[in-house]
Symmetry: C2
């Protein structure tokens, strides 16, 4: 008895579909539940915001410039700036996230990359210790934060 070619083909298609599902679903596979992803990205943004605010206080002249402090804050921000994006996978709607994050995914991704580039530049300025460059890079980075908040974060 030969195997029914139609059944085999169907079986193969189902297997292929399963593989696609398995490889496609890890959008938030790093997180057990959507709530975990939401908590993670909010936490990463929160810590990042604290350290960004500390450089902001120096830029605004509220706190005297100290090279080491600004360099440390910028390095922390640089590490954190890479983290939240992995936690916006399919099925993780909620929190302050606007639906546009998923309906305009390419725009959101471009914004996140722009921000990471700006933060890398802020970190370079901070490590080199030139306050004028820090101010410029801080302002540019702040604008990338705001752009995404305007479009993708609930008010």
């Amino acid at each position: 008895m030969s195997t029914n070619p139609i059944r085999t083909s169907t079986g193969l298609r189902m297997l292929a579909a399963s593989i696609i599902l398995i490889t496609a679903s890890p959008a938030f596979a790093q997180f057990q539940k959507a709530e975990d992803a939401i908590k993670y990205r909010q936490s990463a943004f929160s810590v990042m915001g604290t350290h960004f605010g500390r450089i902001g206080a120096v830029v605004k002249g509220e706190v005297p410039y100290n090279k080491d402090d600004v360099a440390k804050n910028a390095a922390i921000i640089a590490t954190l700036s890479t983290l939240p994006w992995q936690a916006f996978g399919a099925g993780t709607e909620g929190g302050k996230a606007q639906p546009a994050i998923w309906t305009e995914a390419a725009k959101f991704k471009a914004g996140s990359e722009k921000m990471q580039t700006a933060i890398t530049e802020l970190n370079q300025a901070a490590q080199s210790g030139n306050l004028d460059n820090i101010k410029k890079a801080f302002s540019a980075a702040g604008q990338t934060c705001k752009a995404c908040h305007d479009d993708f974060r609930k008010k």
Copy 2:
């Protein structure tokens, strides 16, 4: 008319007391409010826990070992492990923090330093890429987490 020396002395003592208060209070001066400090430390611990858990999954054999992934996770943990402690200043009681954090401050500080040392060792093992060393360092680091949670975190 000469200035009353007793009044002057009292004034100086009050001034001295004010200076001590000003210099002593920045325990959480980096944070505007106690709630900000609590949110900050909880967020830092939360992100750290996520990445620690990812190495844990490799150590337990649930996820195949990938040197780059473990190294990245360990570097993130190393950065984050230095952060929460600044947010346990006087007046920041609350959240999951046990009062013992402030009544047994030296023990808490020693615990936090032990943890940071263990995380540095985990990061070294992760960067060098020796899975056996990673497993040992992960276990040692996990014990420093647990020790503080047992003594200082609300159940």
